[in-house]
Symmetry: C2
Subunit: 335 residues, 2 copies
């Protein structure tokens, strides 16, 4: 077989503030022949997610940062094109953390086979993958919504937020979304069944708007955004409210750490809590979560949208746009 | 019987910033005769506590504020001097929320009898009362310390903090205190058995100091203070750390809400949580907590100090001094 050429994006420099396309470098290299136990996967869909911003910064975090010159991290859905691993046959569709590259050589650890008859294979890095599971466990295990409660979600039109609000509805809650365009808000209410949504960019007073849309106060806040949006939620927390802290996308591209009003006193007065999480802490329950969500999709209770950018070479642009809020639903790149 | 004259402190004005003595007014009035079912209690010890600052501000909180002209709230240990209530005999020692007054007329609701043979009666508003129970449940139920973990407490030499560190030691944890004078720090380590303590007022870099004193990081943070002290704890939180938010005394007397660095991202990275509480939420377990702590006192495992100010008329001064950190241990006023 003629040797394949791989294309991959490596990290050229650590972004200062919002990443630039020049922070990534397109590199070519031959794809090595698989040894015994290995296989080669050709990428079909590559994920771009907010968490990646943290992985390319130098700051200490839950995982080592991508090194300068290293291949950019990311989830991939691909097809096995060569295999010397008995678990995988050529033609199998698989999902793995292969990063931003067209071909990956893998020994199969952490790689799962995807059944294309359940849902479109791209959902393995979307609603039935990491973002969907983040919504599922972050809302249900951390937020613990009860029937009749009010759930507010920021970044509501994103891959995670759009699922959070729908699960809140499935659980009998009032779901209120905060998003950054009128179109996104319309989508949340008209297509996904949120009870209400508002565009924080065109709202003068987020606290007053939340008061109007949450007449019973806020019991669960699922935070993807942080900053001023979260500040506006705090005065409206109910007694025993739970804040499920999933992301802080408003803060990731700041060159200087932002300050904001101190609000811990509000947790005391409301006997409330704020809890951060990483989806990986629920790894032993991923299967259960994905099965339940696949059922909701089948029953028409859970909808999802994919915001697909075409072309491997557009990965950096797709990533940067997602950080700027261009996407509605799960953004991914079709190779 | 000649009619008694009551003295009471009423709220004269809502403090702006740190309360002044002139915010309180000493008022005299006759003590009414008890009707059937009522009794008259003469105050022996009156409590001054940080939470009272919140109760004299106008801000919405978990309880209605003291009205201008209303008697100042507060826990009292006193003696029944007249009784037309079969539950109480003249001479009984009782504890109730009678407020800052020498005599209280009560129907006995929320009043508990104190057994003077168990511990000094003043402990009913100290280590075996609200402050001690706050430490007990705030640490054990909210903080959930496990053997071998590191517990940091701010306001460590106060009525609550001094108990928190000792319970942490009883549970096999490393206990580190943050306080505002060298004497307090010495007391915490030499007399109460804290593993370490430091004076934040004379420490250049609180983060570096905490790093030195908490080489294994911080698993539980019991916060009485907030502000910059809490900012310094956050970078050192361990994975799955718990912040038990009890008080924010650094913030209570600010005339303008303070801003500080945003840190919710740290909860995500550490899968950590911050939870506020009010001791009243554990009311159904108060008896159990008090019994266990009385046992620890008897066994010499739990020590306490009372910072007693003499004279009813000194209540405002004692309260203001406590807000400024004058006290070591539980401050109360002996009538």
């Amino acid at each position: 077989m003629a040797q394949r050429t791989n294309r991959m994006f490596t990290l050229a420099s650590r972004p200062k503030g919002m990443p630039q396309e020049s922070d990534f470098k397109l590199v070519e290299a031959p794809v090595p022949e698989p040894a015994d136990g290995q296989c080669v996967v050709k990428a079909l869909y590559v994920s771009v997610d907010p968490y990646m911003r943290g992985r390319i910064s130098e700051a200490k975090s839950y995982a080592a940062p991508v090194e300068i010159g290293g291949v950019m991290v990311g989830g991939v859905v691909g097809e096995v094109v060569e295999s010397k691993n008995p678990r995988f046959a050529v033609g199998d569709i698989v999902q793995g953390e292969f990063g931003w590259q067209e071909y990956a050589l893998t020994d199969g650890r952490g790689v799962r086979k995807i059944d294309p008859t359940i849902a479109p294979i791209s959902t393995a890095i979307g609603v039935l993958g990491m973002p969907g599971l983040t919504a599922y466990f972050g809302l249900l295990d951390i937020g613990q919504p009860k029937e009749g409660e009010t759930v507010v979600v920021s970044g509501a039109a994103g891959a995670v937020g759009s699922i959070v609000g729908q699960i809140a509805k499935i659980k009998g809650c009032r779901a209120v979304g905060i998003a950054g365009t009128d179109e996104k808000c319309k989508y949340l209410v008209d297509e996904l069944g949120f009870d209400a949504a508002f565009n924080y960019k065109t709202t003068d007073n987020n606290v007053e708007k939340l008061k109007e849309l949450c007449p019973q106060g806020i019991d669960v806040y699922f935070d993807n955004v942080g900053g001023e949006i979260t500040d506006a939620v705090i005065p409206l927390l109910n007694v025993k409210a739970r804040m499920s802290i999933c992301g802080q996308i408003s803060q990731y591209n700041l060159q200087k750490q932002e300050t904001g009003p101190r609000w811990l006193w509000a947790l005391i007065v409301k006997q409330a809590r704020a809890e951060g999480f990483l989806v990986f802490q629920f790894a032993d329950k991923f299967q259960q979560g994905a099965v339940e969500m696949a059922g909701w999709i089948k029953d028409g209770k859970l909808k999802f949208r994919e915001d697909i950018v075409e072309g491997f070479e557009n990965l950096p642009k797709a990533f940067i746009g997602m950080l700027q809020g261009d996407n509605t639903g799960k953004r991914l790149v079709k190779v």
